[in-house]
């Protein structure tokens, strides 16, 4: 059986993306209103995807988007390293998701933070059920946005693995950027990504 490698968007596409973000940040910081608008829209897009796909809390998405909007606007005015913007943005969104969860009163015991996950018998994080309730209208939007099969499979992953998949495969961050956002080594990112891909594949076969 013949196999072909993926057309890999990394690292070249990742580098292009990072450079694109850096140009946009520099232009926005220099007073370009159109660049600022595009940057703020991107920040909110990142926040929306991260809220839904990593944290699995559709009801938090718009609050996290607002947080990303305001923080990005303030950050750009004092930017020193435009190249580091993307890492800063994903770290900020991740923190906003965590803070949002902590502020919830009466949070159900089964909810688990992104970095924790449940630990299985082999010391690896086990799957964690994520909360999935949202307003019916929002659920319709979400269903039409990303395939239900993929979202269900993502839910089956431990949160820390889910984040690696989303950042690397969906958001197109480089291994180094993912390592910076997740606070783990690049080698660990690669290991988790490999395991997550296999787990995701198995989960997709089951849904």
């Amino acid at each position: 059986m013949s196999v072909t490698k993926l057309e890999n968007p990394n690292p070249s596409a990742s580098e292009t993306d990072r450079a694109g973000y850096a140009r946009l940040v520099t232009a926005a910081a220099g007073g370009d209103r159109d660049a600022m608008e595009r940057l703020l829209m991107r920040a909110q897009e990142v926040a929306y995807r991260f809220s839904l796909l990593v944290c699995g809390h559709p009801q938090d998405a718009e609050d996290v988007m607002q947080d990303a909007l305001l923080k990005t606007y303030r950050y750009v005015s004092r930017i020193k390293e435009p190249e580091a913007f993307r890492t800063w943005l994903y770290t900020t969104v991740q923190n906003a998701c965590r803070m949002k969860r902590r502020r919830h009163v009466g949070e159900p015991a089964h909810l688990t933070s992104i970095e924790q996950g449940a630990t299985g018998g082999d010391g690896e994080p086990g799957p964690v059920e994520v909360e999935g309730h949202s307003r019916p209208a929002d659920q319709l939007l979400i269903d039409s946005w990303v395939s239900g099969r993929l979202r269900q499979a993502l839910k089956a992953l431990p949160p820390s693995y889910r984040m690696i998949v989303v950042l690397r495969e969906m958001e197109g961050l480089s291994t180094r950027e993912v390592a910076n956002v997740a606070g783990i080594s690049e080698a660990n990112v690669k290991t988790r990504l490999h395991r997550a891909r296999v787990m995701l594949r198995h989960a997709m076969e089951g849904v």
Partner: protein, 88 residues
């Protein structure tokens, strides 16, 4: 998850992500491709992973649902109207 693999399949599996990411040299790629020609289970796994990764990348490029996008745009307009004016 445990595929009860033989050593050759195990070696293949260990390098499969690097292979799919284009991180392996030509010799290592050839070894994997040769193995997959003879091992339908590994070949199926490689194809399945490729499909899964493709679906993820497709989802990552999906634009925001239009109502969400409209609300995001309105938030930006409100923020820029309230904060210090930025040059056009």
């Amino acid at each position: 998850m445990n595929m009860d693999v033989n050593p050759e399949c195990g070696a293949m599996l260990a390098g499969i992500s690097a292979y799919l990411d284009g991180d392996l040299d030509a010799t290592a790629c050839d070894a994997i491709e040769r193995h997959c020609r003879d091992c339908s289970r590994c070949a199926t796994l490689v194809d399945g992973l490729r499909e899964t990764i493709g679906l993820c990348r497709e989802a990552g490029s999906a634009p925001l649902p239009e109502p969400v996008r409209q609300r995001a745009k309105a938030s930006i307009e409100r923020l820029l109207a309230c904060e210090n004016p930025i040059r056009s």
